[in-house]
Symmetry: C2
Subunit: 142 residues, 2 copies
């Protein structure tokens, strides 16, 4: 098991497209974790989320989040990102724009428009998360 | 997107071996999430963890956890399990026994002994988690 360098974990987060597992905390103190689609904009993670989803209610109450991105086959790699998630843009235009880019990343560029239309709707907000702490390991089972 | 039946999500959790993403809450209220290896014993998840790891410190303070297991390629499936994690057995014998079983699940039965010896050591505790709430969806992008 070895630590990834910054260049390595940014490359790992970039490609191939893997879901992040976004952990937040519920009002009663229980943890919550769900998969998200995201894209890197420099070192910032951009994702969209329905404004009344559990994860969004949690983020709007307390923006502190943790995101895990992993390769779950031997030799196993993972990145844990911790930081604060915040609203980037709640407009339907921004939602459509980012949902198209992110949809293309996960579904293939030929389906980007389709998923931009499907996910980029009024009420789906664009969020950003700037990691302030990163833990990244490669080849965990070597 | 369709809900999985109980039989479907148990089958999904069973095979192929996917890492769970275990979310816990730190003492200061921040979420934490890391990949874990686990195995189903009936409907109970069994995993091992180093007794002073961040996740274990969090669990020993507040056993409420959330675990996400997903297939992160189209058409995307995921299971979210919520419940309480607790100590099953802290003995090195139990640790070795479960680490062997779980190691075989993730690394192949030919490497079970190797990973039982590697992971099943004094201080690696055997934990169980009985889900009290399950959210399970298949074919999210269909």
């Amino acid at each position: 098991m070895e630590e990834m360098s910054k260049a390595e974990y940014l490359a790992f987060l970039n490609a191939p497209a893997r879901c992040g597992k976004l952990a937040t905390v519920r009002e009663d103190g229980r943890p919550h974790v769900v998969p998200i689609w995201f894209i890197l904009d420099g070192e910032t993670l951009i994702f969209t989320a329905w404004h009344t989803s559990v994860k969004m209610k949690n983020i709007l109450r307390d923006g502190r989040v943790a995101i895990c991105v992993d390769h779950d086959q031997p030799p196993f790699h993972y990145v844990l990102l911790e930081g604060k998630a915040e609203l980037l843009d709640a407009s339907p235009e921004a939602s459509r724009q980012w949902a198209t880019i992110i949809g293309g990343r996960y579904m293939g560029t030929d389906r980007a428009e389709e998923f931009g239309k499907r996910n980029g709707i009024d009420g789906e907000w664009v969020m950003r998360m700037v990691p302030d702490r990163v833990v990244a390991y490669k080849n965990v089972t070597d």
